[in-house]
């Protein structure tokens, strides 16, 4: 079917809500190219001044970690509690450090 030929690719949309903050993922949309994706993202995700800047990324360009790797990736931090300041007990006389 010629229908499939005209399916627009999927883009992931990231919006900076105001200057000083990072772009945050808000969802996805379909568009034929990056320019249209930005235009569509403006209409779909920022109708109420939710953003001052938009990033669009082709969904197929995103590499993501797999949930099955999460132990290998994130568990090692579990036994390194000394990375947190609360690990070190201060004498009462020293209130803040």
């Amino acid at each position: 079917m010629s229908e499939n030929k005209s399916n627009w690719p999927l883009w992931e949309v990231f919006v900076r809500s105001r200057q000083g903050l990072g772009h945050k993922h808000v969802g996805s949309l379909h568009a034929s190219d990056a320019e249209m994706a930005i235009g569509n993202a403006r209409d779909v995700y920022t109708r109420r001044q939710e953003g001052v800047s938009i990033w669009v990324v082709p969904a197929e360009s995103i590499s993501a970690s797999s949930p099955s790797d999460s132990e290998a990736l994130f568990d090692p931090a579990n036994d390194k509690v000394y990375r947190h300041p609360t690990f070190f007990v201060l004498p009462d006389e020293v209130n803040h450090m």
Binding site: S6, N7, W8, G27, S28, H30, A31, D33, R47, P67
Partner: protein
């Protein structure tokens, strides 16, 4: 189901029961994925078809301001449909397939949109009652166990309360008007009230998807609980502007701390779902026509993008 599958399933059920969230790449039972695809896509279709009854009044709105408001509201509905399709796609379905299912009539959408919008007061009643019922249904979905759906619903709910207020404000204004305008408002309430109550779905004893969805934290409250809330919320709002609820059996029940109300005509409900509502045929025809009429735009956009890509490479 083999042992590993069964084990995964048990872990999943316990994880979800402890109110934790599931994200797209996490393991999930097929039935969970399927029920979410069904619910989220039906929800998306409802937003899209929901633009039709209101869209008819954009060109006939009584003032420029009302026209601008209605236009913004209908645009929001399109946006809600898009958030939801986007959430459904995270479950591994293609948007084009979902849209095809709507256009072919295979997929369902909320049967409320198969009722006609006959007068301007209907736009008031739709915002006030239909969006009111939708909010009642959707607020608990913001805490749904599937992350992308919950996030989409949070956005939707933020926007939806404007929809309900603009509807109520139309009714308020009509009730301050001439006798004919008051009559028009009352007539719209009379026609939309019962279908709005049907939006919560069949009674708990009849509902097919309820109990499993409750266990999976996709659904938080039963159809009848939400319907009761809708009645209790709406009655004082109607009274306040002088509208009469079209239900002779409606009365306050001190003991239960809520209203008793009349029997819903479930024959009508199932008849509309089966495709025999006043506008079922018209809605699908209109969606199909819009889709077909837009085909050249979609094709042209692809051709333009390809041409520009080719020019850049040269």
């Amino acid at each position: 189901m083999n042992v590993t599958q069964e084990h995964l399933r048990e872990e999943f059920d316990a994880y979800v029961a402890s109110d934790k969230k599931i994200e797209p790449k996490d393991w999930m039972p097929d039935a969970y994925r399927k029920t979410l695809i069904r619910q989220i896509s039906q929800h998306a279709h409802s937003e899209i078809v929901g633009m039709l009854p209101e869209g008819k009044w954009i060109g006939r709105a009584p003032s420029l301001q009302r026209k601008a408001i209605l236009l913004a509201k209908v645009q929001d509905e399109a946006g809600h449909g898009l958030y939801l399709y986007s959430a459904a796609e995270t479950l591994g379905v293609e948007r084009a397939d979902l849209v095809d299912d709507l256009l072919s009539g295979k997929a369902k959408y909320s049967s409320i949109f198969n009722y006609p919008s006959l007068t301007w007061a209907d736009i008031g009643a739709i915002g006030w009652l239909v969006d009111g019922a939708a909010i009642m249904n959707q607020v608990p979905l913001c805490r749904c166990s599937y992350g992308p759906y919950a996030r989409a619903m949070t956005r939707v709910c933020k926007e939806e309360s404007f929809h309900q207020r603009q509807g109520y404000s139309i009714m308020m204004q009509l009730m301050k008007g001439t006798d004919a305008q008051k009559e028009m408002a009352q007539d719209a309430l009379n026609r939309w009230w019962w279908p709005s109550l049907m939006m919560f779905g069949p009674s708990d004893s009849e509902s097919t998807h309820s109990s499993q969805n409750m266990k999976w934290n996709i659904k938080r409250f039963s159809n009848d609980e939400l319907r009761q809330r809708m009645v209790d919320m709406t009655v004082p709002q109607a009274e306040c502007i002088g509208l009469k609820m079209p239900d002779p059996d409606l009365k306050w029940n001190e003991e239960k701390g809520g209203h008793d109300f009349g029997e819903i005509d479930w024959t009508e409900f199932y008849d509309v779902i089966a495709g025999n509502g006043i506008c079922n045929k018209e809605r699908l025809e209109e969606r199909n026509k819009a889709h077909d009429d837009g085909a050249w735009v979609r094709d042209a956009a692809v051709a333009y993008s390809e041409k520009r890509k080719a020019n850049k490479q040269r």
